[in-house]
């Protein structure tokens, strides 16, 4: 059965790995929102170039595996003289990846706001940008938040893939201690437990955000 001594001794180290996982998740979440919103607005824009850059980005990311994307950024780019190191490669790779999925979610949310809302805003003299910011996005948000939260939960779990580019987050921490303790079961169960704590906390917080954005709906 479980070796509790091992668990008590190593738990703090894994918790530290989990903190790095959390940090990577939050940073790539922010990047992913920026990429996602930019790509969504670009894809909806009238500008031919912007629209096609966004379409290409979303297609490229969604049609290739995250692991290969991370390898290209971390192992491939240095060959072109761009050496970002494991931390930035990991955060950038995850951010770019989740951004493409967020883009489609955000675009769908924006398009689900009735056209009359845009017309009403414009008829009051609002510019397109002001109408987007004050009228369309706040309404799109309550449609977007649940699937966006889902993307974020997947992102937290996907951070385990950056262990393959030598970033010592939760999964790689566990793997390293297996080398010295020969206790893979304890180590991976602890890692799994800590991932579950992170994702469950995230879902709980997202539930709170959802409640706050549903103002005015019956």
């Amino acid at each position: 059965m479980l070796d509790w001594n091992i668990i008590f001794h190593y738990f703090p180290f894994l918790a530290k790995g989990a903190l790095l996982t959390l940090e990577i998740s939050i940073l790539s979440l922010i990047l992913g929102l920026i990429f996602g919103l930019s790509a969504a607005l670009s894809k909806l824009s009238r500008n031919f170039l912007l629209r096609n850059v966004a379409v290409f980005y979303i297609w490229l990311i969604r049609s290739t595996p995250l692991l290969v994307q991370l390898f290209i950024i971390y192992f491939g780019l240095p060959q072109l003289g761009i050496d970002l190191g494991p931390y930035i490669s990991g955060v950038l790779g995850l951010g770019l990846n989740v951004g493409a999925y967020n883009a489609e979610t955000i675009r769908g949310g924006i398009q689900s706001v009735p056209a009359g809302q845009h017309e009403a805003a414009r008829s009051l003299g609002m510019s397109s940008a002001l109408a987007m910011r004050r009228i369309i996005l706040p309404q799109a948000l309550r449609i977007i938040i649940p699937p966006l939260g889902n993307n974020f939960i997947i992102l937290i779990k996907d951070t385990s893939l950056v262990s393959t580019i030598t970033l010592v987050e939760l999964t790689l921490t566990a793997q390293r201690f297996i080398g010295s303790t020969y206790k893979p079961f304890e180590m991976y169960v602890m890692a799994a437990f800590l991932y579950a704590v992170l994702t469950t906390t995230a879902s709980f917080l997202l539930g709170k955000v959802e409640a706050r954005t549903s103002k005015g709906t019956r």
Partner: protein
């Protein structure tokens, strides 16, 4: 009232010249000329598909005219000599002077009633929030909804929502108001309150362009009635004349169809 109303200044509030609008192959407006003097209530009636809503939407450029000119006072609304960016700015300025009320209300559902009314004066005209709030409260008072200031639109009836939409447009202190079938989506018992607000507005001297199926409103509140069919103005006369003695056969046909 009538003497003051007909003392309009030389420049009409709205002037539409040779307006054409097509959607692809479908020609919806086929050369419309209309002048709306200051303080006039012009009611546009006609069968569905006659182009009357499109006409209204061309006035504040929610639809881009295919050709023709539309003026607000002496300003050309569809002035294509501007660069695209300058034109956007010009349009926003024009729209601040033209209030529009829609068939489907289009209130902002994520804002309370008073926030709906305050939104554009605060964020478009950049007016002082406290000042706008007291004006918004007065406007809600006027449309009989002061007690609903903090409600969300989804908690109101259609008639109440439409009156808020009117207050929201009035908060910009527009020179003229456009009403696009504003009672068509309402239950019959809610229509009266909305029409009363519009009649009050007419009495105060607002220039109004009203597309409607409410013949009672046209007759009692309108200064002038235009009958449109197939994208052209068929008859342009006084409410009394059009209802008691329409000259055109198509007008007679339409009126007998709807008054049946």
């Amino acid at each position: 009232m009538s003497t003051e109303k007909h003392q309009s200044e030389t420049v009409p509030m709205i002037r539409i010249e040779k307006l054409h609008k097509s959607f692809g192959d479908l020609s919806v407006l086929k050369g419309v000329d209309i002048e709306v003097p200051r303080q006039q209530v012009l009611v546009i009636i006609g069968p569905s598909g006659s182009g009357k809503s499109t006409l209204l939407r061309c006035v504040n450029h929610l639809e881009t005219p295919t050709s023709g000119k539309i003026f607000l006072e002496d300003k050309l609304i569809n002035d294509t000599t501007h660069s695209r960016k300058a034109f956007e700015k010009h349009l926003n300025q024009i729209r601040c002077m033209l209030g529009m009320v829609f068939q489907q209300f289009n209130l902002f559902p994520h804002m309370t009633v008073i926030e709906n009314v305050m939104e554009a004066p605060v964020h478009v005209l950049k007016q002082e929030k406290d000042q706008v709030r007291s004006r918004a409260e007065a406007l809600l008072d006027k449309v009989g909804l002061r007690d609903k200031a903090d409600a969300y639109p989804s908690m109101l009836s259609g008639g109440q929502q439409q009156r808020v939409a009117i207050a929201r447009a009035l908060a910009m202190e527009p020179k003229a108001m456009l009403f696009d079938e504003v009672t068509s989506a309402l239950d019959p018992e809610l229509v009266g309150d909305v029409l009363r607000v519009m009649a009050d507005l007419a009495r105060e001297g607002m220039t109004m362009l009203v597309v409607t199926h409410e013949m009672g409103f046209a007759e009692q509140v309108g200064d002038r009635v235009i009958f449109m069919a197939d994208g052209v103005v068929v008859e342009d006369t006084s409410p009394q004349a059009i209802f008691s003695n329409p000259t055109e056969a198509r007008t007679r046909q339409f009126l007998s169809d709807i008054l049946k």
